[in-house]
């Protein structure tokens, strides 16, 4: 049942390339999970990764901030350049990289601490605040950017896990932006949310675009069409097609892309 999606009208604001991936291969043990992916992710743009389950889009996303390092059997080949610097270079500390490339996960995962501490944790460990007043300001700014300030401003010291699912996810987004990242990776951020919370998060993503380069993995093609300017379609570990969102959804070049967005595969 495919409805013609409302394609985002937004033109790509800049052509600066934030992340460039060249010939990326990812192996899980003997499994070749990502095959030869080349993609240039632009600054101040929302890039959507779509594709059927198990196609490697989340794996590739996790390569962009080296979250795959935590998986012992995972091996990455090829170059991923963040503003021209190879993030898999030996001299790169993944901890510094992750401060620049923030991440929001599929399931809301606030720390079992207060709302305030959830946001303040990143700035604290990176030394972004000199004093309590600074920190308070960062927390407020981040919660405002996460579009959740009004809902939680009276209970900043209540546990973050006590919020509703949608609020928790926006809290996680606020937490991710609190460290002032340059790129924000989102792994199916709305899959656990109801339509209203989804709409709020999508609106938020659109606002975040003015400051960050956002990469979002989604199973919902409508969502990809609504929020992104560029879309990449992954299939069986290959990057099949990568283009302007409007082009992917209206006039895809590859027949596989067309089959997927019209609901025939996936």
């Amino acid at each position: 049942m495919y409805d013609s999606p409302r394609v985002a009208e937004n033109k790509v604001a800049t052509q600066d390339i934030k992340i460039a991936a060249n010939n990326v291969q990812v192996y899980y043990g003997d499994t070749h999970a990502i095959k030869d992916v080349n993609v240039d992710i632009e600054d101040k743009t929302v890039t959507a990764f779509i594709g059927p389950s198990g196609c490697g889009k989340s794996t590739f996303l996790r390569c962009l901030n080296r979250m795959n390092d935590t998986i012992d059997i995972c091996r990455v080949e090829g170059d991923i350049l963040l503003e021209g610097e190879d993030i898999y270079d030996k001299s790169v500390d993944p901890v510094q990289l992750r401060a620049k490339v923030g991440m929001v996960f599929q399931k809301p995962n606030p720390f079992p601490k207060s709302i305030y501490d959830n946001i303040a944790y990143g700035p604290r460990i990176h030394g972004l605040a000199r004093n309590k007043a600074d920190l308070d300001e960062i927390v407020e700014k981040s919660l405002r950017r996460g579009a959740i300030w009004d809902e939680v401003k009276d209970r900043l010291h209540a546990p973050g896990t006590g919020l509703s699912g949608g609020q928790q996810q926006r809290l996680c987004i606020a937490r991710a932006v609190a460290t002032e990242p340059e790129v924000l990776l989102m792994d199916e951020p709305c899959s656990a949310l109801d339509p209203i919370a989804t709409a709020q998060v999508e609106e938020l993503i659109d606002e975040l675009r003015s400051n960050y380069s956002v990469v979002i993995v989604t199973h919902s093609m409508q969502q990809a069409a609504r929020v992104s300017q560029k879309t990449a379609f992954f299939h069986l570990g290959n990057l099949v097609e990568y283009d302007e969102t409007s082009k992917i959804f209206t006039n895809p070049e590859d027949p596989r892309t067309e089959s997927y967005i019209t609901g025939r595969i996936g």
Binding site: N65, M67, T70, D72, V95, Q96, R98, A99, G102, M103, V104, F105, K107, N109, P110, F111, P112, K113, S114, D117, Y121, G122, I125, H126, P159, C172, R175, A176, A178, T179
Partner: protein, 443 residues
Amino acid sequence: MTDATLNAPGAKPKKTSLKTITERTKRRNASERRFKAYGIGAILIGIFFLVVLAVSIVNNGAPAFTRTVLDIELTLTQDQVDEAEGELFKTKAYEQLFIASLQGQLEESGLEVTFDPAALERIVGKTGSTIREHFKANPGDIGQPVTFELAASSRVDGYFNGRVNRETLQDSRFLQLSDLDLVDALADSGIIHGSINWNFIQGADSGVDNPGGAGIGASVVGSFFMMLVVLALSLPIGIAASIYLEEFAPQNRFTDLIEVNISNLAAVPSIVFGILGLAVFIQFMHLPQSAPVVGGLVLTLMTLPTIIISTRASLKAVPPSIRDAALGVGASKMQAVFHHVLPLAMPGILTGTIIGLAQALGETAPLLLIGMVGFVARGYPDGFVAGFTEPNSAMPAQIYTWAARADVSFYEKAWGGIIILLAFLLTMNIIAIILRRRFERRW
């Protein structure tokens, strides 16, 4: 009716009313009821044994906390003391004074009994030296009435506890049947009566023929210092090892080997650790024998696998999404573990630690091998350091020693010791529960 017939093409499923219960459902319900009955039965059996255990412990152990004493008020003048000191057998002279005084007290209550000094000695032991020592230590008491509370012998104690009675008593050098008449007379006049045996709780062990003087206090101190060693070593080492193995170590054959060995170590009989401790700590490293520090080291070896296994399990139980969240905002691996994973795993770690410590507290076999059955006749370790290095015993070893002694009245001491041991364990568990609550509430 099988699935095949149900799904057979063309065969219409037979319509049944919801209100009629089918054979199949009946059987399922019956088996569920049976299972519940088994469960309740199992719990009842457990409760039964627990009650039997508790009742028998309290029954057998309670007499250890009471003792029979002989109260005597004595007023000695300076002349009497001088005269006694002038005699050849000084304590004998004091004993004469004591008997005279006792006789006076008995006559006051209207009883006429003849005294055999030997019988009195069988009942309360050698009183002369006790009295002499008191007046030598407190010369100021001369000329004033002094009340002596003299512990009755264990047979007399047993006579009041019901362990010894007239039918079963055989004349021996400990007590003779005829002595019981005197005991009864003394009890009737209120001179012999029961009292709480503080010495059992505070005192040290006694000789094999003096069960009345045996106390568990010194070995409680020994156990306490041992537990300090175990806690101070096994908790940091155990947690550090499990955090490394669980969070940092690469998955390879070597770490697999370590894992298997830790699991195996947890199942190694404790006596093996005992002989290892004997060989390494005492024979090779020449640490002091019978000292709580050695006992603590051996028990640490024994406790470590338990703590490591439970700590790893509780670290594993922390959802990986928390680690992802911390790493995602740019925390280092160590920050993620120490700021987020460890606090969440803390209740589980504490539980494991307390189980390990409780195990160590009740362990006897390795202590026997390293000689933690030191006979401490009196007094406590002299200061904090000495508490670790001076020979001592531990509660379970002390209980074992008493149970192995010939005099039956040590048997009730063993039971009493078990009551103290259980009280110790209960206290530890309560502390653990309180700590758990504290950590669980933390936000």
